[in-house]
């Protein structure tokens, strides 16, 4: 009944102090991006000189584009991130359902084992996991990068918590209608856990988008190499930092994401709604 656009009570109106603080923080926060935009569009000489009338150039983008096949890296990363997320969601949903709604021997032990992964970072197990990938012949494939991450303890933990909170009456009502356990899962539990899925998706995509060490070790060619590894070509230590080209490459590769966020902000945040993260 109450509309989100109703006039809020007077005391909720933000003070000028709020506005000032919020804006100062925002300007500080966006400063690196602003710097990136400045440096990418100006020649190297102006990377550290902020003269307003400095000439604009697209040369940095041309150089960055030639330095490595970024279109392919971008595709690899997008495919990788989506694939990992999809598999994580499926596996975690099944596992969480088993933990939440089934009684079986060894359940607590199994759950404890799952919790272990929350604390053990896959990064430290690189050498062992590489051996396994080599044996499976999955080196330099997207599956090779993704496999250690497919079973996400974090997702299982979150979903189990959510499923535990689903009222049992809904469960029984569905069973009375003759639904099988998997159907109940699909029709009752999954819709109710939508916000959790979105929250986890954000965590997962963000993590795998930024992941570097494991993909570096496991990939050998442009076939599966993600952006983070591809961008390493600019950390050329010998010649010193070339900010113009790094920022050009960054803008090229982050622009799609930034644009997507700009355009879909509302929907994005709204998708968390309906019950919040519980």
């Amino acid at each position: 009944m109450s509309s989100m656009h109703a006039e809020p009570p007077a005391y909720h109106a933000p003070t000028w102090l709020d506005t000032l603080a919020a804006w100062l923080l925002a300007l500080l926060w966006i400063l690196p991006l602003v710097y990136a935009v400045w440096t990418a569009f100006h020649p190297s000489a102006y990377a550290t000189r902020f003269e307003l009338l400095a000439p604009l150039t697209l040369e940095n983008f041309a150089r960055a584009w030639q330095a490595a096949p970024f279109a392919r890296y971008f595709l690899n990363t997008a495919a990788l991130v989506l694939m990992i997320l999809a598999v994580q969601l499926v596996l975690a949903t099944l596992a969480a359902y088993a933990f939440a709604r089934y009684e079986f021997r060894g359940r607590n032990v199994a759950f404890a084992l799952v919790l272990v992964q929350l604390m053990v970072m896959p990064d430290i197990l690189v050498v062992e996991n590489y051996k396994t990938m080599a044996r499976l012949g999955l080196v330099d494939t997207l599956a090779g990068i993704g496999l250690p991450y497919f079973a996400s303890a974090f997702a299982i933990f979150l979903l189990r918590q959510t499923f535990l909170g689903v009222p049992k009456e809904l469960d029984e009502a569905a069973r009375v209608e003759g639904a099988s356990p998997l159907q109940i899962l699909w029709r009752v539990y999954v819709p109710l856990a939508r916000p959790v899925y979105t929250a986890f998706a954000l965590v997962s995509v963000s993590f795998h988008w930024n992941n570097f060490l494991w993909p570096l070790i496991v990939t050998n060619s442009i076939q599966a190499r993600p952006l983070t590894v591809g961008l390493q070509v600019f950390s050329s230590v010998d010649q010193g930092v070339d900010w113009s080209i790094i920022t050009a490459a960054t803008l090229m590769t982050s622009a799609p994401l930034l644009l997507a966020f700009l355009l879909f902000q509302r929907q994005f945040v709204q998708s968390f709604m309906r019950a919040g993260i519980k």
């Binding site: 990377a47 050498v127 070790i217 050998n220 060619s221 070509v233 230590v237 010998d238 010649q239 010193g240």
Partner: protein
């Protein structure tokens, strides 16, 4: 009856198959060699490497070279050793020359001597500059072949020299001159803040390498050839460190640890009039310095000297004999004078053999741009880059000590003594 003839057919097919494989294969599968390379200079290096691979494969149709870009030097060795420990190392890789002892200790590489059988091969192995071979040989065997090598040189801002009343074409040749020039070159602005430092020697990334530009002229060698002992607490070494710290105290060198990655930019921005950095930066500085600059040898003290640096080719042990032979061929091909010359021009690294400098291309380039020859001319007084067993660990002990002294946390003497103690502890097992 059926069974017997069935078995007969099986036996015959097996013999036939055996026979076929015994025949010298006419359409043999190509020998595949994977080749890890680091990217340590900007520019389209990947394209150059791919070009090399293609050129080699054209001349050698039975061999397939797959160049694999592996990140920085540090990342490349992580990748190579991880792969080696999992049983599938690359066949060949360009890695730091200082990684030699580490690779030997991990039993990851084979010496090149086993493949250099003909007189021509032996001549080729002897054709490289001796300074570069110092980090490539130990125990009488050759473990690495120079490919992208460098030395530290001094760059100076000729304009700043003129402004300060110094002869722009005459670089400081020894420590006293360096300090004097730096004092004249240090400029302060109205608030008393330094706007231009006289001299800048980076101490992040690889402090030990830059430190060698001070210890070598002082007549001190930090590690022995076998890589089993170091001398950090030698008075000459401490003296060199004291000189560096004193430059900071005298206000002509920036305080604290100077960042390696921003030093070229500092030079372009005229924040430092003299910098010490790799010859690999030459192309970059040539392109971006908006003023005339000079390139010179590192100032001497009791002698002149600079450390070498950069990467060598290695051949890995776990590859098949065929692959190793193919890799040997490739390494030989890539380091031929014409290609070494081209590589040097493209990247700014020192060409690895005298023959390369004798090629028309490099002769012309050197005539047009004499600074490109400074690094080569410094080679006769160049020494090996610091390298020991358990190299990274010992180097870290030295680096930490250097940074402690430069930030004033420890005196040079204390810092070097602590580093020596740590290094002795680490190298105990290798004596």
């Amino acid at each position: 009856m059926q069974r017997k003839s069935f078995l007969k057919i099986c036996a015959m097919s097996a013999l036939a198959a055996g026979g076929w494989s015994a025949l010298p294969a006419l359409a043999q599968a190509p020998v595949e060699i994977s080749f890890y390379y680091p990217v340590a200079v900007g520019g389209p290096i990947a394209k150059t490497i791919d070009g090399f691979a293609e050129g080699f494969m054209k001349e050698n149709p039975g061999i397939k070279v797959s160049p694999i870009y592996a990140g920085t030097y540090q990342e490349t060795i992580v990748k190579a050793l991880t792969a080696h420990k999992s049983g599938t190392p690359p066949v060949t890789s360009v890695l730091l020359s200082t990684d030699m002892f580490t690779l030997i200790d991990e039993d990851a590489v084979v010496p090149f001597d086993t493949f250099a059988k003909s007189a021509e091969d032996k001549a080729w192995m002897d054709s490289f500059y001796p300074a570069f071979m110092q980090n490539s040989r130990t125990g009488g065997k050759t473990w690495g072949i120079p490919f992208q090598r460098s030395t530290v040189v001094m760059y100076w801002n000729k304009e700043a020299f003129k402004e300060a009343g110094l002869d722009p074409d005459k670089a400081p040749a020894n420590w006293a001159e360096l300090k004097a020039a730096a004092t004249k070159l240090t400029k302060k602005d109205a608030d008393g803040k330094v706007s231009q430092w006289g001299v800048q020697i980076p101490a992040s990334g690889f402090p030990y390498w830059l430190f060698q530009t001070l210890t070598t002229p002082n007549g001190a060698i930090l590690a022995n050839e076998a890589g089993t002992a170091v001398k950090f607490d030698d008075p000459k070494v401490i003296e060199a460190l004291q000189y560096w710290v004193d430059l900071g105290k005298a206000g002509v060198h920036p305080p604290g640890v100077v960042e390696w990655g921003t030093t070229p930019k500092d030079f372009f921005e005229k924040k430092a009039a003299i910098i010490f950095t790799t010859t690999g930066n030459l192309t970059n500085i040539r392109k971006n310095a908006g003023f005339p600059f000079g390139v010179g040898m590192i100032p001497g003290n009791t002698r002149k000297g600079s450390p070498t640096g950069g990467g060598n080719f290695y051949i890995f042990k776990k590859a098949t004999a065929q692959q190793q032979e193919a890799a040997f061929k490739f390494v030989k091909w890539v380091t031929q004078p014409e290609r070494a010359a081209q590589w040097s021009i493209d990247t700014g690294y020192v060409a690895v053999s005298q023959a390369a400098y004798d090629t028309a291309a490099l002769k012309k380039y050197g005539a047009e741009f004499p600074p490109a020859l400074v690094a080569r001319d410094q080679l006769p007084v160049s020494v090996a880059e610091f390298s020991t067993h358990d190299n990274q660990r010992v180097t870290k002990a030295l680096n930490d000590g250097l940074q402690a002294a430069l930030t004033g946390t420890k005196t040079p003497e204390q810092a070097m003594k602590d580093a020596q103690r740590e290094a002795d502890r680490i190298l105990r097992n290798y004596k």
